[in-house]
Amino acid sequence: MCEVNALSMHSGAVILGGHSVWRDATFTLDSGSITAVLGPNGAGKSTLINVILGLVPLSEGSLEVLGSPPQRGNSRVGFLAQSRHADELSTLTGRDYVGLGFDGPRFGWGRDRAKHDVVQRALALTGTASFADRPLRTLSGGQRQRVALAHATVFRPELLLLDEPLAGLDLAAQAEIVDLINLIRDSTGAAVVVVAHDLNPLAPIVDQVLWIARRQVRSGSVEQVVNEEVLSELYGHPIEIIVTPRGRRVIVGLEEELAHPHPHGHDHSHEGAQHHVGEPHHEESL
């Protein structure tokens, strides 16, 4: 292979608290591609992000992130956390928050002269300059998410991991964020991994899908993964996909996957805080 993949996992498996989260995950993500990570709550989507970030080790298999083993604090990897409760209370301005994305991890007394310009460019790219001097808590959900994207990309990462960036946004704001993700990919060339629970808003920009369910991971193009055959096999029972006239996919038959991923109901502390395990989702419209 002449080009280094942004990410390549071979037979990866994760065990957390004595339970297998997923195993035998083999996939590669191209540089500059956008990948949607889908699957039921508690399936291990956030765990995958934590593995890539180097916060959770693989128990088996191998992973290369930008050509090297995963490494905590890799300055080539950007990350947008799922829920940032602090934002709702924070009096911090968007500009200062983006600035922390640039030099927040750095100790020392000196000031980086480049900071102002770099932050300014990130604000311009994400269209946040006009409200960057307002406290985060006064911004709308969509504005806050744009600022968060500026924060996650200000240091020009080559791989960008976004955990549920569309959660809690209305449809208009979702569409804006999807456009922005595409714009960031185009202008920085970063590979982007987006965890989501609905493929439809992302479908226009997605190159590849990773579907995690029942401890298995399937990867491929939207057509290769999101079809009745693959999903039925993945879930172990018949799944129907209805494509609406406007091209949106409604997936029927996922309701049986609502139960805990672990049959004995053990709490999954890593996931439990972020995923509403057991919450009734009678249908995931994908």
Binding site: F79, A81, T93, D96, G104
Partner: protein, 276 residues
């Protein structure tokens, strides 16, 4: 006695240097305590220090050594046990209660407790010696150096722990660092304002600063400036008009907070809230 003569007295000079040093450390450290919503921890560590000081007095040791050992111990315990928000209050509360129990025991065992207890609880600013000043200045400068060196990572971990963790900062290490700095700052603050009033220099100026500005660095400057101003004017009023200096310092710091909140509420109601 004129003001000039008053400030020529050595015990007033000692007090002046001591409050200045304490305010320089308490302003910045207090800011991190306030944005991390850990005022309760500041309260608890002070009370734990009370047990340490009482224990040291009982053993015939210097109270400040007891303070250092107990405050640092409590700070590290709280920092390690409460790195995440989830169980913070419980960890702090249990640490606080256990230490206060010990403090009560030590005091009951020590026959001449009244004076020692009083000065630990309410401070004894005008009884500060040159030796105390040296120690207070050294500790404060140390705290100031570390806070400024770790300023950005501390801020990052305080406002967005998950991102900071992903970028390679240890949330736990930052939590331990803040709590250690807080513990040392409380040890020096207790020399001046006592256990019960350490909030006046640690929390009140920082909380006022948070109302006054949204910019972190400006807030640190405001917090430090307000801590200095309350200390200097408090010392001045105490010496000039009489009354405990710690009362004046506390009164000024709290009044500043009240005024800031009132003016903020007024601006908000008139719809002229300054957001930049």
């Amino acid at each position: 006695m004129s003001l000039h003569e008053l400030f020529a007295l050595s015990f007033v000079q000692h007090a002046f240097y001591a409050v200045t040093a304490v305010a320089l450390a308490a302003g910045p450290v207090g800011y991190f305590v306030v944005i991390r919503r850990q005022a309760f921890a500041a309260h608890a560590i002070g009370h734990v220090g009370f047990a340490g000081a009482a224990g040291a007095v009982l053993l015939g040791l210097s109270p400040i050594m007891g303070l250092l050992v107990f405050c640092l111990g409590a700070g590290l315990l709280i920092g390690a046990g409460a790195a995440t928000l989830d169980d913070r209050d419980a960890v702090v509360g249990v640490t606080l209660t256990a230490a206060m129990g010990l403090g009560v025991l030590f005091i009951s065992l020590y026959s001449g407790y009244a004076n020692a207890t009083y000065s630990i609880l309410f401070g004894q600013i005008l009884g500060v010696t040159w030796g105390d000043v040296g120690l207070v200045v050294a500790l404060s400068l140390g705290v100031l150096a570390v806070v400024s060196f770790a300023y950005r990572p501390l801020l990052f971990a305080s406002v967005d722990a998950q991102s900071a963790e992903a970028r390679g900062l240890s949330t736990r290490a930052m939590s331990l660092l803040v709590m250690s700095l807080l513990a040392i700052t409380i040890v020096v603050a207790i020399q001046i304002v006592g256990v019960l009033l350490d909030f006046s220099l640690l929390v009140a100026p920082a909380a006022t600063a948070e109302v006054l500005t949204n910019r972190p660095f400006e807030a640190v400057l405001w917090s430090t400036g307000l801590a200095l101003a309350s200390s200097w004017f408090g010392l001045f009023l105490g010496v000039w008009l009489g009354g405990p200096v710690s009362f004046w310092i506390t009164g000024l710091a709290s009044t500043a907070y009240l005024l800031a909140r009132m003016s903020d509420a007024f601006r908000t109601r008139r719809g002229h809230r300054v957001v930049a």
